[in-house]
Symmetry: none
Subunit: 285 residues, 6 copies
């Protein structure tokens, strides 16, 4: 079985656990402490990072794509029967659900599922933590004012709402109910449902997000804690301080997201790499 | 016929032309150069300004409303079969279309039609002038930046729009593409279609209006010129300087109007009377 | 003018006030204390009850319909420019709004408006009273339990609502949260918007109404007081005791109204004539 | 009253019946046997054809339109309170419903109602006849084949329909189930709802009409008989022989009308005037 | 291969057929007469009942879930490539279609398919039997009254429906057309499409179910026979006697299900375990 | 491994490449030059044609279907983790995407994906060629007239379109803008979305296809070249000469396809087998 199982030209780190029924191809490089279950098939070219888990029956195969290879970064988990096919990267900490058919790259900490696989959430920052706080429909923030969250410096704001026979009105005052004087606003609209739009942090810019029509979700991450906020009410806002990693997704088709920013646009001010973000946020050395 | 026609206690100015079949009640005061057609019925208490026209078969009747009276200001035109009923004011320069049933007051220069009468437009500021500039769908303002309009100080702004497969983006910068630093924003949403929402000027407050979902129309008036702007694009904004009379209407059911204001809310800062507005704007003495 | 005005063959009661410009045809019979304004035209065959008011410019004309006549019962009010045409009955206490074009019969106390005229409400039971209580969206009945109304014996009930990830649940217990043990239920559905459905009282039957989908309005009337309830929530119910006149209308297109009744169906138990109802309710002798 | 009523400069035919309260202006010309009810107002310039009826309170006023006049052709009926305003023609045999506010011309035999007035049907060709035959949903033509109608030469065709789980199919064979070999087809689509599209006859061209999506109505008229056909089924067709006046209207917004024609397009072959059509069809001398 | 294939610590019954390429883990217990195809992978902890079939390439893996194990009860069939992952029970007689990704427990006799797997039907109670009776659209129950079904004591009721231009009406009488006097009603609404809502039997409570808006399906099972009823009509009801296993699913998004119950709510009265149900129903000893 | 891997009773052609971890059952017959990847499982009865590829982890299993077998014709490609189950034929040149669950037969050159697998396109006729030409929305055929395509004899026609405020019109003249005189028309409508409807060639009949409502796609294939045309415009037509293989699919739910045919219907004139078509078209000997 070893002959059929692990090709002699494959490279493997220390501390790995490989089921004898697994098949590993010639052009495969595997890191340390990787766990490979029964019936798993890994074709090359492929690189698998440290501490990854490939459960029973999962298949990794770049296939017949020119220059194609598959990179699975550290701490990624493939559940039973997951299929990865084509030239793609599964970024660190991602989770591929059982039976998911992954045909495109997966961002850090994302949870993907389905055929074809789509992002359905993000791995919470510690075990047992749920991310899906429904901000708009209730929770602690029922009165007017700000509420702290588990993510450092991020606050949820309930703004006044004036009901009127001629239409509803919601009001925010800069420097008062909005915690800063904005330099800029922007509107996000026409986003295809469930697509990711925005995944980065800012060095110095503060943001204040309001979903003025429809609904969307915002994941806020300080490098240590991560929380998801569903925005669906023009009288609810989310404040993001600098050095907060933000992800926006799960847009309804009619969603319009209004964002106030404390700084003018400066491309150098964006942090688009999650590893760099964690270093700047002081989480990783 | 005179006995039945014009009540002896009615007052009438000079240069009037009244058809002998018309009926004018006791408590009616009519200005100069008014033209009253056949079959017209005017019940009091009622005041009709100079140069008004009441075509055949129109009916003016305050009815059984306590303290009710009808005021028809100068230069108003009632087409054939128009009906005015209840305590109301038809402001100067308005036009009531044939068969319209008017149950509420009509603002200056408005054109009303239907049963019940609704505002369908505004009389343009001079002959041959059209008001319905479609701002969003094209016109001069195609590039990014501000464009002057015929209304003093009012500018139309085309904001950057970043098209992206993941969704569109539009950006405005306060003190830059937005011509002031706002103290306040408000959102108007859930407006019943076609209703008027906002009809006033500000003494010192500047405003910047963007229809971020759906569509609505804004009429801007400096006392001398009047222009209508159809807003239907999140990347188009309308700037209104102080002492601009603004009207918002023709909301689509899904419309969300975002307004930036340069001042905190101050009720004393609003001008809600068009005559006072014209005086403050220096148009009328 | 008299010759043109009132036809010699017309009959008129005592205490009437007819403007000299009004025109009354040969085959017209008018009750006592009727007020007829300027420019009014009444063609026969037509009967007008006591204390009716016909404001300026209203037109009553059965037209060229075989056997056609118009009956306007006592205490009816036609506002300015109202038009009645065809074979029809306007029942007692109705109100025809200005410019309304009435082509079909009008029930007691109804308010009609528009072209063609439709029922838009019911005349409240005393001056200054509003009928449109929005039961579902708030008001006093926020907790679970029953609330009294201004109509004798009618109560509004808020039922428990159990939220569940798999769907919502609302529960009522007969003889407990529902004030009687029903003998019968019925469902009303597929009602064209704004149409009247049900207009009668019961001699002995109690009812408990819940709008389980969409929305509708119920007018409850004890002969002295009348109140309107908008039902739009499966956890809100309306209890009607015997000898309550009930009207259901303003159905949304997706409305489904569930009604519990304390008795089996018995046609003899229905009171379908409002005059008889008031007598049985002890209001009129 | 005569002085106020009928202007001396008005012209009137024989056999007319004018209520003494009616008002007729100077520049009005009225045909024979016209009936004018109480409270009617007619301003000039205006021409009214023979045998017209103007019921109580109707108003005819061209208003302040340059070169404006109103022409009401023979056999037209205005119900109580109808209002005609502006430069327009009401063609022969039309019917204006009570309270209708007519601002545009009305075609022959059309029935108009509402504010503003819209075409709601066509006057049937003789008393008691209904025009709204629902061709698609049933009627005599249930089997495959052609069915005669009351209009000379016009036939209704039910074509084979093959139902299939994979989709439906309807088939026609030229010279067989379609009664001629076409030279041309055309498709009508994107028609604004309820608008008239096509109102003419052909001298030599035969037509075969199928509403392949949505629905529309076709009025066919041989000069003597008139019938309306609601087309709403791709397996139902209407054949129009030469010298048939055809009207298409009541298009649903998704309607697509497919027409086969026996001749190539020739403008000279169209008859666009109803009077000329009746002469060519041998109905009028 | 045996070494790689079946772990020595695995337990297996008699009469099993295991392909040599299959992999069976240490903590797996397999019953009698089980058939395991080529390429199948079974990780423990896992229990597989008698007479189960696991076709080629199917994967059973509890994965890294605390206390997680998989129980596959007797007579279950996994088609080719089926994936079971997580802590779950596949109840007796279920059928997992090819490629289905099962992440949650599967109820008795259910058929599941897709990624993630959803219930698409139920295995009928004997070969050749179909479960999907469309109750609403026709069938035997066209007249008013009750119809027996193949499930013991379950009856389908067609209630009177009064068609009326003003709206439709459906009526039920307790103790008459409804076979009991209810103590309670409840409404189910806002259910996410296709989700299961309710899967249990009652010891003493009778139920009467009506889908008053939208549609849903009810499976009724007496332990021996099973039948599915599609409810889509407010005039159709399903009566469930005590000791009937009921399943509700396939809710449309606008579904509102009305249920009458003969008893007040008593948690002890529910039977939530199918095995216990069959014992109480006298089917199994 | 060989013992477990390839059953001695399996038949295999020359030039095959089989990974030692693959499992091939007894009743399997494999052609020449077939490539079978790691972890692949093939159960019989099954026939696999020349030059097929089965990537890692794919499963082929007819399962427990009476008389069931799987036929995979030449040049078919199964991507990683593909599952084929049941009695079915995958026709020559098809492509099964990664993780696709195929439960029904697949036509020649089709691309299938998803769970359950559906047709998402057709393999283009040579490498690098795209099939999805959007005919309606632009391309070369913007003027009126015919445009050649890459498929022999097939032309794309842009017909005159007359835009009009009263509605749009599109016209074709037989023997002129339509290249033949039709004997027959047929309409295809009510097609379930994405279903294939029509997949055949004609020996002598010419066709002219117009999608007069909604949209659909037509694949035209001369045996050597294949091209896909998206039809979504009533003024665009596709001409198919005799001996062209045509496939219609991707119907929108509101699609209505109008087809003119140069011949009356004759079943013997249809070619329904792709292999026979290629022979008749002179492509294969």
């Amino acid at each position: 079985m070893t002959g059929a199982g692990i090709h002699p030209a494959a490279a493997m780190g220390t501390g790995c656990e490989v089921h004898p029924s697994a098949v590993v191809g010639a052009n495969v490089r595997i890191g340390d402490n990787v766990r490979i279950g029964p019936g798993v098939v890994i074709e090359g070219p492929c690189v698998i990072g440290d501490r990854c888990v490939l459960e029973a029956g999962s298949v990794v195969d770049p296939g017949d794509v020119e220059g194609g290879d598959i990179i699975i970064e550290q701490d990624t988990w493939l559940s039973a029967g997951a299929i990865l096919r084509g030239r793609l990267v599964v970024a660190g900490g991602a989770r591929v659900q059982a039976g998911a058919v992954v045909l495109r790259s997966v961002p850090p900490h994302a949870i993907v599922a389905g055929n074809p696989a789509q992002i359905v959430g993000y791995v919470p920052s510690f075990a047992g933590e749920r991310t899906d706080t429904l901000a708009g429909s209730g929770g602690a923030a029922q009165g007017v004012g700000a509420t702290a969250t588990r993510v450092c410096g991020v606050t949820l704001h309930r703004l006044p709402r004036i009901l009127d026979l001629r239409g509803n009105l919601s009001v925010g005052e800069f420097g008062r109910s909005v915690p800063f004087d904005p330099k800029r606003y922007f509107l996000v609209f026409g986003v295809p449902n469930a697509e990711i739009r925005g995944e980065h942090a800012h060095r110095t810019c503060e943001q204040f997000l309001i979903c003025v029509n429809g609904s969307c979700s915002v994941v806020a991450d300080d490098g240590t804690h991560r929380e998801e906020f569903a925005l669906d009410d023009p009288a609810v806002a989310l404040y993001l301080p600098p050095l907060t990693w933000g992800i926006q997704y799960k847009y309804s088709t009619d969603a319009v997201l209004l964002v106030f920013a404390s700084e003018f646009y400066d491309n150098a001010e964006y942090i688009r790499d999650y590893t760099e973000f964690r270093r700047l946020a002081g989480v990783d050395a």
